[in-house]
Symmetry: C2
Subunit: 248 residues, 2 copies
């Protein structure tokens, strides 16, 4: 565990600036935000259902996911998080966690107390709007996931997930052209899509066989973006990434 530093908070500033130009005052307020940095191994729960966390976490590097277990022991993953994301920003106004958060890879995360976040929001009302906006985008993504899981067949569901992943990763510059890291196992992909691991494997094989992607180890490359968008019925509107629209 270590103290906050300018370098650590940079991922958050980068993320926020991707949709909104920050003022110097806002940037400085963010840089002064007290944060406890911690390194975590893969497959570790950061918070669990029922927790009343005393701090929020900012992903500095690595990847995490939120999930929930059903009474029958099945796991549903609701979201992936990458550098700059705050997976439990909801705990700013909801006292009890209704989902768990787990690291998919080794991670560095920064813990921020709600008091400091509130203070920041009070001092910089525009940042508050940006945070609120971010939670609304999270909601928009959940809506799309409901649609994906509810209405599309497994093949198209997987294609949609991969399109979304590439689009989000690209927005924060973690891509190399049409290639990027795909840090989740097929079992985790399956739990995000509401299908079994076996079936996830089969549809991945099919998408590969159709020449739409290359997937070796944890490296994903989209070979035919047009066909992928079509297969996944992917329209990035719901990600609300357009910076122009955010400037309002």
């Amino acid at each position: 565990m270590a103290d906050s530093s300018f370098h650590d908070i940079a991922v958050l500033i980068t993320k926020l600036e991707s949709t909104l130009r920050l003022t110097d005052a806002e940037r400085h307020a963010l840089e002064r935000l007290p944060m406890q940095v911690q390194a975590l191994r893969a497959d570790q729960d950061i918070v669990r259902v029922g927790d009343q966390p005393s701090r929020s976490c900012l992903v500095l590097s690595g990847y995490t996911a939120t999930y929930k277990m059903t009474g029958e022991g099945k796991r549903q993953i609701h979201a992936w998080h990458i550098a700059g994301d705050i997976p439990d920003l909801q705990s700013l106004h909801l006292k009890v966690m209704d989902n768990s958060i787990i690291t998919l890879t080794p991670c560095r995360v920064g813990f921020i107390t709600p008091e400091h976040l509130r203070e920041l929001c009070r001092a910089q009302p525009r940042l508050m709007e940006v945070f609120w906006r971010q939670t609304l985008i999270d909601g928009a993504v959940y809506r799309e996931w409901v649609t994906n899981v509810g209405q599309r067949e497994a093949y198209n569901r997987m294609a949609h997930l991969l399109c979304e992943w590439m689009t989000r990763v690209r927005a924060v510059g973690l891509n190399e052209g049409d290639a990027c890291e795909l840090p989740m196992t097929q079992s985790e992909l399956a739990d995000a899509l509401g299908i079994t691991t076996v079936h996830a494997n089969r549809v991945l094989q099919k998408i590969r066989g159709d020449g739409l992607i290359a997937l070796t180890g944890s490296r994903l490359e989209i070979l035919d973006w047009e066909q992928m968008k079509q297969a996944g019925d992917f329209d990035p509107l719901y990600l609300h990434q357009n910076p122009a629209e955010a400037a309002a």
Copy 2:
């Protein structure tokens, strides 16, 4: 179309007071909120995907739902709304609608401009927190829906939906004991659960046959709440209804 009145905004005040005691100043600010009241027929779109709405809508009476169409013409319903809900509160910070909203029954809705809502939030910061919190709860419900559609079989999915419905309706007093109105058709239930209408009918028959509910016309009665909770794997934590916890 008619002007705002104290009576119309009452449903919102009731809803907000169910999780938080309002001050007189807050109540008065709400009562002064300009609102255009409109009566709508059933099955009418209030807003559509791609719209950049110039006003948010508050459901005064009747029921609405948000939904999205896939490229293949399938419809996914993400949420139901009842009196006191603001289905497109998201448009306060997201300029483009990524979902449509439709009336399930004849409705009275009140339209409020984002400017007036912003003004209200500025003047009454605690109300802003309440609205933000409400959007976070919407997100929590989406997460549960992803889980429901992704991990549970049709029978349990339906049971879960009915448990949630009764719990929400009860919170605003639209129930009569363990009975209430169920204003959506089986086709709409199916589109919310990610199953076909035929299959929705079959699982409803089964739930009835098992003696868990009575369903005649649009009147739902839960006959065996314990077994329903178990069948639906229903834990209301995600609805964050506990008023005590909201008072923080």
